[in-house]
Amino acid sequence: MNFWKRRLPLALTVIYGLMGFILQIVPAFKGFLDIQNMWMPIIFGFSIIIGVASLTKYHATKIRREPEERLFSIVTFASLILMAVVGLIGMPQQAGFFKSFYQNLFNYVYVPLQATIFSLLAFYITSAAYRAFKVSEWISTLLLISGFIVMLGRVAFGPFMIFGELSEWIMAVPTVAAMRGLMIGIGLGIMATAIKIILGIERSYLGGE
């Protein structure tokens, strides 16, 4: 039984890992690569089912354990079913009630909520700057100095233009050097982790030992 539960999935990882690597190196297999690029998303396609299953179980136990939270679970499921039904019918249509309903739901609920939560960052970045930019040890002082100069440089005018040039230099030299050094390290880390997974050294994603 152990073969089916552990050894075969591990073997599949190694085989598909090698295949992924070879398809990148050998251009002659481009035909096979195109097929594989069409084939892989199919496996993701069905995973939404277990996502929704987990969500339902999570809210079902919540309703039983915390009655006062019941309203929010009902709101979640109502909007989930509404959008799923309207989307399943409306998305492929050219026109019609469901299409316009789907477009309204998308343009006036999905998109504005997404943009609004994204815009919360304007507040969070302010409180983060207020808290983090402190002249305590020399490291956070440096963070403060360069952040301060670049922020000032963005709105500088007249005599303050010195901040503009300074922020250009900070963006052109230290930022480029720091980001480039980090990217080289990260690239090596990604390659090492990928090879660890293919060679089976790192197996925790298959449920540990």
Partner: protein, 346 residues
């Protein structure tokens, strides 16, 4: 004993200003952004040299066109941004198009990816409508140029064979503008407005291979990458982020008032009368302006500028917050040092 000391410590002024509660920090930010916005405050943004280089280059092309009417120079626009970076790139595109139409410099536009096409079509025609530009003579939109590097190379000789038709399906050989403006020799400048790394390809394939002058309009995030090339003169100037867009808007609005006259609204209102309406092909834009359209057109003229006053407020607010926080921190540390000195009975 300890907690009495503790809350005595809390109400010290420097501890208070150092740890203002978050909701109040957020309320401050909200007010600082919304007040200049609602007051429709217009602050004059300081015009930097990099943005000036782009403006002056286009002005130089205009002067050249006046002195050599038969050997006019055009501008090739790389519409290299998509829906996700419209907040920063739209104002740049609008003001550059406006500047070129005001100086009636012929414009050829292409876009490197599918999702950018519809955006390019709507932005280009929206501004062309405001200057009675007619398609095929004053401006042309070639549609998809994918892979972009192949088209950048072909434009060194002739871009028409690789396109065959423009975005709307007209044959390239029927468009009058393309008879002359189909290679780098007749393009005075290439302007790449991008949210991605496309300007680097323009630099490598248009500038260093065929020494075609290239200007860049980019989002603030990417501007850091292009600064070294703009400073070293490989790019002919750069319009970076909202701030760059606001500067360019300011220059073009000034120019527009000189050419079209102080009251731009009435200029737009009587731009299309019954007589000349038939002259324009409805496919590109419908040649009339109702009140709503005029209001949005006027708002669009300082879309970035309007944001700048709130940006300015927000930046000053954060800078003050940081200074206050550090003052509080400084006195807190000093007070702690004194207390430890006192306790050690020094």
């Amino acid at each position: 004993m300890a907690d009495k000391n503790e809350n005595k410590q809390k109400d010290k002024w420097y501890v208070k200003i150092m740890s203002i509660k978050k909701p109040y920090v957020y309320l401050g930010m909200f007010l600082v952004v919304i007040i200049p916005f609602l007051a429709n405050l217009q602050i004059k943004t300081y015009e930097t040299e990099l943005v000036g280089q782009v403006y002056n280059k286009i002005e130089k092309i205009h002067e050249y066109n006046i002195n050599h009417p038969d050997k006019k120079k055009g501008v090739l626009i790389g519409f290299d941004y998509g829906p996700s970076t419209t907040p920063e790139c739209d104002p740049i595109a609008y003001s550059v198009f406006r500047h070129l139409f005001l100086r009636d410099i012929p414009i050829v536009v292409w876009a490197p990816y599918g999702p950018y096409l519809e955006l390019a079509d709507s932005r280009l025609n929206r501004i062309a409508k405001e200057y009675k530009a007619n398609y095929g003579k004053d401006y042309a939109f070639m549609g998809l140029a994918y892979p972009a590097t192949a088209y950048m190379v072909s434009t060194s000789s002739d871009l028409r064979p690789v396109f065959n038709t423009d975005y709307y399906g007209n044959d390239v050989y029927d468009l009058k503008i393309l008879d002359r403006f189909n290679n780098y020799d007749n393009f005075g400048l290439v302007v790449s407005i991008s949210g991605t790394a496309m300007p680097e390809y323009w630099l490598r394939y248009a500038n260093s291979l065929y020494d075609q002058e290239v200007s860049v309009g980019t989002t603030a995030v990417n501007a850091a990458k292009f600064y070294p090339y703009a400073n070293s003169g490989q790019f002919t100037g750069m319009i970076a982020g909202l701030k760059g867009a606001a500067e360019y808007e300011q220059k073009v609005t000034r120019l527009e008032k000189e050419i079209v006259g102080k009251d731009v609204k009435s200029y737009l209102r009587n731009l299309y009368t019954e007589a000349n309406r038939e002259k324009f092909n409805k496919e590109y834009f419908n040649p009339n302006f109702n009140e709503g359209a005029i209001r949005t057109a006027m708002l669009r003229r300082h879309q970035a500028g309007r944001g700048m006053s709130s940006q300015f407020g927000a930046h000053i607010y954060v800078i003050i917050l940081i200074i206050i926080g550090n003052i509080g921190y400084f006195f807190k540390r000093k007070a702690e040092k004194d207390r430890t000195k006192r306790r050690r009975g020094v």
